[in-house]
């Protein structure tokens, strides 16, 4: 290449084939100008520790993207997710056959392409086994300087150390200098003469040096010290800086210059080249680089005066650092143009997406036709992954998370690879492995219950368990049918059989419609102990009442955001109330003065028979903009739920039962966000109002007391009322990775206990209102708290799972 041409357009060809350095410092961009058929290897994160990885690679952990992928991995729970990213390994001769094999198949990078790999890792690989003494002594007297061409072509030399000598400054350059990274030689490595020559050749052609030499100095122990002496290239000073996006543009191929050209012809030739370059700049699209970075570069240009190779390297690093910090992992500075003018032009390939490919793979990794319809996947992708946008690793991660939340795939890979047809373009490949459509699961347990005389007998062994079946992704549209049956005794399932059958139909408005509504139809039953029939403090034990519900529910959920949604639907259910011995009972029991039990307590049902049937509309709107700030939750959550009776059912129930919950998580101190930073103290304010107008059976009455109502009391210990108001405040202070908290809560029936038929609050001697306060600490998932209830003035220690709010 003619010297002049090289100086006006400096390709930042700081990459070297077969160099561990280029693998290590993956930010060094490839020379697209040189490599006309580059392969972009993909890296799987679990491959980073494969046996093939040599020592030098492992010893340098500066792999920000691998780290971030590990984070993404931690995010997904069950399926293995691999976000492949582009790692532009510079590769001059394009021999990277083993690259993708090594990444994907593990063994693929074996012997066949092993030539490459061996060369790639040879210094380290050989350094790993020095005892075999695979290197040869130089066989020369010690302490003499040997020119490169004087070395023997048959020997393998061991390099003891490498020195850079700057001829202009007449100093030896330290290892921290940016030039050092351009050399793939490493101290302790073993190289042949050919390898050393190749190294030198690369240094010469990279354009950073006007002149560069490599000499050896013999050591007494037979090893060789290498000195690389160089003259750095410099150009005239510039005061303008411009960054252009040359992605998807044809690389300008320098016209071969005839050595026999006259001066005039030469002038004409350079002028035409300059013109062409201007046109290229004009055609180039503006790039994403913000002005702040441009100003920073400009400052660098001004401070230095002369434009040197080092400065260009620094500019390249600055520009690339911005791109990579912003997540534009495929952005590369490919060239500096217009050198020797007032303006430095930085050519960037930002990584424009030219194509988006969605692929399904079977278990063996073969590409197959998937069952899932593509729009289902496509609607989960952020629009930044569509062709025409610049590839951003964050968008890729977002896509990964979104697709993962579909729960349809066992393995998801988002993999950008270079577009071979269009220079600098990126094809985003999404590879998906589908889960089995039909699954069935049986989990069982035996329980030994005491037989006669309290001793467990064989006959009292009870087989219990859960049968689950699921048919996922029906028609490829993510519709599913899910059924579960649970019983504690399969011999007598009628005792406590609980079942659920659910059909989920997402994309209710069509898969192309951006509106995200999901239809759910389910059959269910449940059995719960009624907290309405609970005694107050100190009262005799109140005979329990079980509330069995069975019915059909159909609702539509519209998701506005990940957390905010609106659900509305119809519920038809049958409610049966039973006493301890599973007999249907119509009234609660109560103990009489003399100690007897009478069954004329508050009515359990609306109909008075112990069995109610009713249909009602149910709507629930949830607004939730909470987010995590360093692990503690901040934001607000509002929930409004209303059950509207339709007058259909036993005794024609017509009612409006409503609940409004407001919760605020107030951040009390501004903190810096980031991993490992301490979370802020948070004040939680919570209010809950529940009310009912119209028919109110006792099982639908609002109960006061309990871990989610007023802490420090048992479920329903404070009363059951028609209207309730609960207020709570909690102060959370982070301490050593967890938090301690103090709270105060109050619940009040607003005098509406008497408006529940039979007044169960009064019959079971409950106060109807109560306050509590206390403090606690969170240990993992468990909250340990001490709560004092103000009605009796006594405190107790509680262990609770999960969060109160």
């Amino acid at each position: 290449m003619p010297a002049l041409a090289a100086q006006t357009h400096l390709p930042t060809a700081t990459n070297f084939p077969n160099s561990p350095a280029s693998r290590r410092r993956r930010r060094i961009p490839p020379s697209i100008a040189v490599s006309n058929n580059p392969h972009f290897p993909t890296l799987k994160c679990h491959q980073s520790s494969s046996s093939q990885t040599p020592q030098p690679v492992q010893s340098n952990p500066s792999k920000p993207h691998i780290k971030s992928i590990v984070k993404a991995l931690a995010l997904s729970s069950s399926v293995t997710l691999v976000l492949k990213f582009c790692s532009f390994l510079g590769n001059g001769d394009g021999n990277f056959g083993g690259g993708s094999g090594g990444g994907g198949g593990g063994g693929g990078g074996g012997d066949e392409s092993g030539g490459f790999w061996r060369r790639f890792f040879s210094p380290a690989a050989l350094a790993d086994e020095p005892q075999t003494r695979e290197w040869d002594s130089h066989g020369l007297p010690a302490n003499i300087v040997v020119q490169l061409n004087k070395l023997s072509g048959f020997k393998k030399y061991k390099v003891s150390d490498i020195q850079f000598f700057d001829r202009r400054r007449k100093t030896t350059v330290g290892t921290e200098d940016s030039f050092f990274e351009m050399v793939s030689l490493r101290p302790g490595g073993i190289y042949s003469k050919a390898q050393l020559q190749k190294e030198l050749e690369n240094l010469v052609t990279c354009g950073m040096f006007e002149k560069v030499d490599l000499e050896g100095k013999t050591n007494a122990d037979g090893t060789l010290g290498i000195t690389i002496s160089f003259n750095e290239s410099t150009w005239q000073s510039a005061n303008r800086f411009r960054c252009i996006n040359v992605g998807l543009m044809k690389q300008s191929k320098p016209m071969e210059m005839d050595a026999d050209m006259t001066d005039k012809e030469k002038m004409a030739y350079f002028r035409s080249q300059e013109r062409e370059y201007k046109r290229r700049i004009d055609r180039a699209r503006p790039c994403l680089l913000p002005e702040s970075v441009e100003r920073e570069v400009l400052r660098m240009l001004r401070d230095r005066g002369k434009v040197s190779a080092r400065l260009l390297q620094k500019i390249r690093d600055t520009v690339q650092k911005w791109y990579h910090d912003e997540g534009y992992a495929c952005a590369q500075v490919v060239n500096f143009g217009n050198l020797n003018t007032k303006e430095v032009v930085c050519e960037v390939v930002e990584g424009d997406i030219t194509q988006l490919v969605i692929q399904f793979q079977d278990k063996l990794g073969n590409v197959v036709e998937g069952n899932t319809q593509l729009p289902v996947v496509r609607r989960e992708l952020p629009k930044q992954l569509r062709p025409g946008h610049v590839f951003n690793i964050e968008a890729g991660k977002q896509a990964l998370r979104n697709i993962n939340s579909l729960a349809l795939f066992s393995n998801i890979e988002v993999n950008p690879r270079p577009d071979e047809k269009s220079e600098g373009g990126i094809i985003v490949e999404i590879k998906l492995k589908e889960l089995d459509q039909k699954t069935a699961e049986v989990s069982s347990e035996w329980s030994i219950v005491p037989g006669r005389g309290g001793r467990p007998t064989l006959a009292s062994l009870q087989p219990g368990g859960t049968v689950t079946f699921e048919h996922r992704n029906i028609k490829g549209l993510n519709r599913s049918i899910l059924g579960t049956i649970t019983t504690s005794n399969f011999f007598n399932p009628q005792d406590d059989l609980s079942f659920k059958l659910e059909y989920v139909h997402p994309y209710f408005d069509g898969v192309y419609n951006p509106r995200n509504r999901t239809l759910r139809v389910s059959c269910f039953n449940s059995r719960k102990l009624s907290p309405v029939f609970t005694g107050g403090p100190g009262a005799d034990e109140v005979p329990p009442i079980w509330v069995d519900r069975a019915g059909v529910k159909a609702n539509i959920t519209e998701n506005f955001t990940r957390q905010s949604k609106f659900t509305y639907g119809l519920v038809m259910e049958e409610v049966i109330t039973r006493d301890e011995s599973s007999n249907i009972c119509s009234n609660g029991q109560r103990t009489l003065l003399g100690g007897g039990i009478s069954a004329d307590g508050p009515p359990t049902t609306l109909s008075g028979t112990g069995t109610d049937r009713m249909a009602f509309l149910q709507a629930n709107i949830t607004r939730d903009n909470t987010k995590f700030v360093n692990g503690s939750i901040v934001g607000e959550r509002n929930v409004f739920q209303v059950d509207q009776g339709l007058g259909v059912g036993s005794k024609f129930p017509f009612f409006n039962r409503h609940q409004l919950t407001l919760t605020r998580f107030l951040q009390l101190k501004q903190v810096e966000e980031g991993a490992g930073k301490p979370p802020p103290p948070v004040l939680v304010l919570h209010g809950h109002y529940g009310g009912c107008v119209g028919d109110l059976p006792s099982y639908d009455a609002f109960t006061l007391g309990g871990p989610y109502s007023v802490r420090g009391y048992n479920m329903g210990e404070l009363g059951a009322a028609r209207n309730i108001l609960e207020l709570a405040a909690e102060l959370r202070v982070p301490v050593k990775g967890t938090h301690v908290y103090a709270f105060a809560e109050h619940g009040n029936d607003l005098g509406s206990s008497k408006d529940v038929k039979g007044n169960p609050t009064e019959v079971y001697r409950r106060m109807g209102h109560g306050s509590s306060y206390g403090a606690g600490v969170k240990v993992g998932l468990v909250r340990v708290e001490y709560a004092v209830d103000n009605n009796s003035g006594t405190g107790a220690l509680f262990f609770r799972f999960g969060e109160r709010f």
Binding site: F560, T561, F566, D695
Partner: protein
């Protein structure tokens, strides 16, 4: 329980002839006003002499009395008829237990009274108590809550143990008026008659002495320290109250259980639903929309 045998009122013969005459005269008067049955409900704290008063009125030992503990775990109705006139006296257990209203006892009384008509309420307390305490208020409030305000226009306050000498030489009449005034005040407060309430009934206060050592006058009638024969006086007052124009209380389910809360506001439900949609659901939806637009976007999400 309701179908108790109505026995002939023989006890009336045990009274002194003068008392008998007076009683028969009063009964005749009631009959003229088409009152053939009179149901008297006796209520009060425990141990004030409710049962003794009942026995005194009937003139026989109809209900067992024990000086130290309640012998009456549940209400008892004593019915006696004389010359086509039936007198029902319902004796109730004391509804105070351990310093609080015994809700269960009250509940039992209410159920016992279901579908009966109460003509007269005798609220019994002792004369020889010096102070009106909180219990009194509770009992009065419980009665009001159970049977409604209206029962107080059919009520008499009966003070037992009337044969007693007031302390510190206080004149008997003065003590009596002070005591009754204090009690009536409590009744008015407990029954939650407000001052503006024009319909505050005037509740008569009657003195009673059930003791066998009760002084008697020359006609062999039991008399009080102030000289009135108390049995005729009591019955006379009852008659007056009966004929004062107020209605007797019929105890039905509605009265016991209060108004059906399930019916209240039912007609407003469509309106409530509309208000909920307009003033709760819509604002929340708006807030969600503003949340979406305010969401902090990462730099890569903003561009393009």
């Amino acid at each position: 329980m309701a179908s108790q045998v109505v026995r002939e009122w023989i006890g009336i013969n045990n009274f002194a002839p003068a008392t008998q005459d007076k009683l028969l005269e009063l009964l005749g008067k009631l009959k003229q006003e088409n009152v053939a049955t009179l149901t008297v409900l006796v209520m009060g704290k425990g141990g004030v002499g409710k049962s003794s008063t009942v026995n005194s009125i009937i003139g026989e030992r109809a209900v067992s009395v024990s000086p130290f503990q309640s012998e009456v775990p549940r209400p008892v109705m004593v019915s006696r008829s004389r010359a086509g006139f039936t007198l029902n006296v319902i004796d109730t257990p004391g509804i105070i237990e351990g310093g609080y209203i015994n809700d269960q006892a009250l509940e039992i009384i209410k159920r016992f009274l279901l579908n009966k008509t109460i003509d007269i309420l005798l609220y019994v307390d002792r004369l020889d108590a010096y102070r009106v305490d909180n219990l009194e208020k509770q009992v009065i409030r419980a009665i009001t809550e159970s049977f409604g305000k209206a029962i107080w226009s059919r009520a008499l306050v009966v003070l037992t143990h009337a044969q007693f000498s007031p302390p510190d030489g206080l004149p008997y009449d003065e003590f009596f008026s002070k005591r009754s005034e204090a009690l009536l005040k409590t009744v008015r407060a407990g029954a939650s008659f407000s001052k503006r309430d024009t319909q505050v009934p005037k509740i008569p206060v009657v003195l009673v002495e059930n003791s066998g050592r009760c002084n008697k006058n020359d006609k062999d009638e039991k008399v009080l320290p102030n000289g009135t024969a108390w049995i005729p006086h009591l019955v006379e007052t009852i008659t007056e109250v009966v004929s004062n124009g107020s209605k007797s209380i019929f105890v039905d389910k509605k009265l016991i259980e209060g108004p059906n809360p399930n019916q209240r506001g039912k007609l407003l439900i469509p309106l409530i639903l509309a208000l909920q949609y307009l003033f709760v659901v819509k604002p929340i939806k708006q807030a969600i929309i503003s949340d979406i637009s305010n969401e902090k976007r990462l730099s890569w999400e903003v561009d393009a």
